[in-house]
Symmetry: C2
Subunit: 690 residues, 2 copies
């Protein structure tokens, strides 16, 4: 699919006239809901299309879009699936370039529906029509405004753009947004994504100053590479919060490498989101909480948090949650402590958390908040409240809201309870105060806001572009599906990997000569196309110290393993065991991995991933994310290890994987990392190709 | 404090007459709220006590409790702190044996308040008065019923007993319970716990059939050992859900052992809760969600979950969360699939998740739920709903509620949204249907219900009783604060630990003789009271293979380390490195630890704890909890290791720690675990005593 013209969604989201094909006069019908929603939201022309009715909701109806006397910018189709192709054809003839297909009954029903969807796609391409859906709720823009959906609740105006691949989930979030008066700029129900997909909508949102945060519920991504480009560019401008469904691996294709088994689909998406700076919501609840925080408050400039509370216990609960979310309890300045001491009752705590006591009214919150906003040692403030006897929630909200609106510091509220709190949703919204019922929600949101702000500052902008080799330049050896270690070494030679020193020997005499040359002790590995998992068949012997031991090893391997073509005689390498690998993802390309090696590899799952290509800075970042990074950096008085050499292997592997797209999986296991300056050596390598 | 008579809280929670000392005629005053709350809830006699007013809320008031004409079973005190001792004295004279002290101004204010509290305690002991508080909200029993609190919202009748050490947090939870119509049996605000503490209330609740679940918000525990006894006995009968505040380590005392640094206060509490079968809530939100599930639904008998949903996306979100919560997506029986296929529309999914489609009305949920309840392959059911156009939430709730009430399977609801959902709280409550707004809440609750049911079935009932040695039997060597390794070996000899073979040598000649005797290679460790961290000062040399190497090592150590009294010449031990340790907790006793040893110890934090004493079954359980348990059991075709020998070390260490209470910290690091049947040897040991 060609990349669409950047501005092409402008007319889609800003029509001046709309036709509803399948409009209905009957209340309760979807075709009626849409007309009503449009009438209540849209200032342009509305043309209901219906064969029988002449008047729908007070508007003149037409039997066909072709009979509408003026131009139609957008058509909304709500007729049974089998009639959709004809309707799209008519739109084309009418020169209506934008269509929302609400109707279901397409690819989601299997092959028959898929065929119908392809038919629609063909017609749309013929007339250069843009399509949202099919099988969607439609869209809402509170900016134009227009409600081109059959959503029963219209969200308030706000700064969130919300994309949903599931209409039902969209409904649930809109229902919640309605209750909490959470404002939206856009709601886009993506449906089957026949044409318009997440990447294109996100690209459209990039330059829209009225959109402060983009939220996307995704079940898959249409074009992985394109998504990464767009999401990465968008994230540099505004936060993109993603909820990805489908973390469980169902019917995943069989993988045969160690890396493959660690790099599941959820891991791939997590890597992608991290790499492009998108904020991945843990779950639906987190998704909604993040939207609230990101859309209503500025990003924290640091991680030092002050808590202002009317009760001790809740203050402790909030404090408990800070470290795990990358936040820290601020130390108040001496001035702040003095001012608080002077203004608050004696029993109040003027250390952080600032306890303004159970009988606190708005004035005490005001004093504490104003001081906290002035204090340079504080980056963000959580206003905590429990509904006690004297607590005037409305007054406190107004005071806090008025003060926080004038500040560039992040202020979140954690108002615990429900019966006393929810009646004030309108008020919270009016003052752009994100209110959370539970400490974990407020702290997790603040933590992600801080993390995102750090990403924005630190993200590494240079990204190499590496193209696949032409087929004439691709080594012929890749025509084989599995390669021996010798072949792997040959294949990868041009990329300059540092393999441990090893020599191929056809028989014992050559092996002896090689061993003398390398120096005892040595390692012997069998070379046989039938022994892919060499260790499992006794095809690896380490620490061989003499000719006698060597002879014994060679004889045993010849006896036990079929199709032995020779032996790899290698130096024994010491160092810290690391695993490096690659698995190619169909959507996103080569996923490169680094992790703790040896027997601990499977136990601790200490791994880090990136989509290649990437440069050394990203490779170092990957290594830093490992738990064993401490050991690599030289923990407990040990010498630091050669992180640069390890990073170099990662970069080269990423490059090779980009240039050789036929390779599907790579395991370098182990890579022995020596002391700083001593390099890192690949001791065993496996490659699986298509 | 002596353990109270088991039945002594009976009269406390079931008074027939109540006096309010500090009652007020003025609306808005706490002393008025309490009178009003009592009038609205309590069938017995109410005696307001006030010096000036003669009539309070239509009840005759008395100037002093001594002037009340009849017996008073319970007094509630709401006068300023400094007058409380006198009031308690008067209660004593009146033979009123139960008091709730609402008044604040005691230990929470520091030394002066603490003195006042001690004064009250003394008077209470003189008259054998039981006291709840001071500095609390009071209590509510919906069973008697009585509302002896100034909580502004009275909860509905239900099966939850809720204890809160923070009044404000209690208020927040009551506020939430009121909104959600979540029913309580008891609410007890513990306050400063001058007398009645969490253990005693939990003990009281143990036999109360009307209480189905106990919830406790705790900031500390009064008596650790007693709490463990009670909580453990209670957990065998009904779930105890705990929210512990204070996870951050503030001003924690300095610890000098490796074990000490891993065994913080949060870790200790987590260990205790796990060991007694209490369910620790992750946060306040989890606490409330768990209360809902445990109080309203039966425990799941297995972990196979069916999901019935009116939308695909939400079904996937729920499915995604199952594995991390110990649950699994059930495979429906063939019969179920047939029945569903026959009864549901063609587009419906009759595999799990069962998708009854967006236009589903109550009848489709009914069909699916009835079938799921009959299906032997299903243990629990989550009813998922998004508020779509045709969704009749009330009708679906009624249908689901009526069917689920007749079943012994666990049914939870995940109704996503808010505006359309919250108006039905009353209905959810009527049908005992726990409803969650988000998938993560429903799945986490179900996971904990399943985990608890497993604990109930599997918990190991035998617990050894081990008493400290008398001081005459305690080895004199413990008078020293730090011990050399030789002294540690001597001290621990009676407990039969398996130390690696080692001989003390005063000088080189003795060292040589010892080495010859043990056999090369050997390890040399310095013995010096000035070298506690032997490795850090070059006091350990491993793998010494000859007399020359030995001589060099001994000379170097003598030169570099002060106060060398000799050397420990030890065998080199191979095996898998494990760390074992103990840290004594002031409240709960010896906390025994096992974990991954060597350089990975600090990196992976792979540790498991129990409070000693315990037997081998518990020790094996500890080992099984480690991530390296896989390796110990023989991962990747390796031989299994000697888990029994390691378990034996843990049991012996627990026993020694119980018998020698002066030992505060122990590190056995490393313990080398050999192949199965080959034993496990302690290679290095450190002890810190008081």
């Amino acid at each position: 699919m060609p990349i669409k013209n950047k501005t092409s969604l402008d007319s889609f989201f800003n029509p001046q006239s709309v036709a509803i094909i399948g409009a209905s006069a009957k209340p309760g019908k979807v075709g009626n809901d849409i007309v009503v929603n449009l009438k209540n939201s849209f200032g342009g022309k509305i043309y209901p299309i219906n064969l029988d009715d002449k008047d729908i909701e007070g508007l003149p109806a037409y039997p066909s879009i072709l009979q509408v006397p003026r131009a139609v910018d957008l058509a909304i189709i709500v007729i049974p699936a089998q009639f959709v192709p004809k309707a799209v054809e008519q739109c084309g003839k009418k020169k209506c370039a934008n269509i929302v297909i609400i109707s279901a009954g397409f690819r989601e029903l299997g092959p028959v529906g898929m065929k119908l969807e392809k038919q629609v796609e063909k017609i749309a391409q013929k007339y250069q029509i843009r399509i949202l859906g099919p099988n969607c709720l439609g869209y809402i823009s509170n900016l134009l405004p227009i409600n081109a959906s059959f959503a029963k609740t219209a969200p308030a105006v706000g700064k969130i753009a919300f994309l949903s691949q599931s209409g039902a989930l969209g409904t649930a979030v809109l229902d919640l947004a309605q209750a909490q008066k959470l404002g939206l700029a856009y709601f886009v129900s993506l449906g089957n994504k026949l044409d318009i997909d997440e990447s294109e909508v996100l690209e459209y949102l990039m330059t829209d100053k009225k959109v402060k945060v983009a939220m996307a519920y995704l079940e898959d991504v249409r074009n992985g590479t394109r998504f990464m480009e767009i999401a990465s560019a968008l994230s540099r401008k505004k936060p993109l919060v993603v909820l990805k469904a489908g973390k469980t691996e169902h019917g995943q294709q069989a993988v045969s490498s160690h890396t493959g088994s660690l790099a599941g689909s959820a891991q791939t998406y997590r890597t992608v989101f991290n790499q492009v700076g998108a904020i991945e919501a843990e779950d639906l609840e987190d998704f909604v909480n993040l939207a609230k925080g990101f859309s209503l408050q500025p990003l924290p400039r640091g991680n030092r948090v002050a808590i202002i509370t009317n009760a001790g216990g809740p203050g402790v609960l909030l404090t408990d949650l800070l470290p795990a979310n990358g936040l820290t309890l601020a130390s108040l300045s001496v001035t702040s402590q003095k001012k608080l001491k002077a203004g608050l009752p004696e029993a109040a705590s003027v250390k952080n958390p600032i306890d303004v006591l159970g009988d606190a009214t708005a004035d005490r919150y005001q004093l504490a908040l104003e001081q906290a906003l002035k204090d340079d040692k504080i980056d963000a403030i959580i206003i905590a409240l429990t509904p006690q006897k004297m607590t005037d929630i409305a007054a406190i909200t107004k005071t806090v809201g008025q003060i926080s609106r004038r500040s560039q510091k992040t202020v979140l509220a954690c108002f615990m309870g429900e019966a006393s709190i929810t009646p004030h949703y309108e008020l919270f919204s009016r003052y752009s105060l994100p209110v959370y019922a539970f400490p974990n929600q407020a702290v997790a949101t603040l933590g992600q806001m801080w993390r995102y702000n750090q990403w924005k500052k630190n993200n590494l902008k240079t990204k190499p572009t590496i193209k696949p080799l032409t087929s004439s330049k691709t080594p012929k050896i890749l025509n084989k599906k599995t390669l021996t270690e010798i072949e792997v070494r040959q294949l990868l030679k041009p990329w300059g990997f540092n393999f441990h020193r090893a020599v191929f020997a056809r028989h014992l005499a050559e092996a002896e000569a090689a061993a003398q040359n390398i120096g005892w002790p040595i390692a012997v590995k069998v070379v046989s196309p039938k022994a892919l998992h060499k260790s499992d068949v006794g095809g690896v012997k380490l620490n061989i110290k003499s000719v006698i031991e060597l002879e014994r090893a060679v004889k045993q391997m010849k006896k036990n393993i079929p199709a032995v073509s020779g032996f790899l005689i290698g130096e024994m390498v010491t160092g810290f065991e690391i695993i490096v690998g690659m698995k190619r993802d169909r959507q996103f390309g080569p996923l490169v991995m680094v992790g703790t090696g040896g027997i601990y590899a499977e136990v601790f799952n200490d791994v880090s991933f990136r989509i290649a290509p990437f440069g050394p800075a990203v490779a170092r970042e990957m290594i830093k994310e490992l738990k064993v990074a401490k050991i690599l950096a030289g923990a407990r008085g040990q010498k630091p290890l050669d992180i640069e050499a390890l990073a170099d292997i990662l970069v080269r592997l990423g490059k090779a994987a980009c240039q050789l797209p036929r390779i599907t999986e790579v395991d370098f296991n182990p890579v022995m990392v020596g002391a700083k300056g001593q390099g890192a050596k690949i001791v065993d390598a496996r490659i699986i190709s298509q």
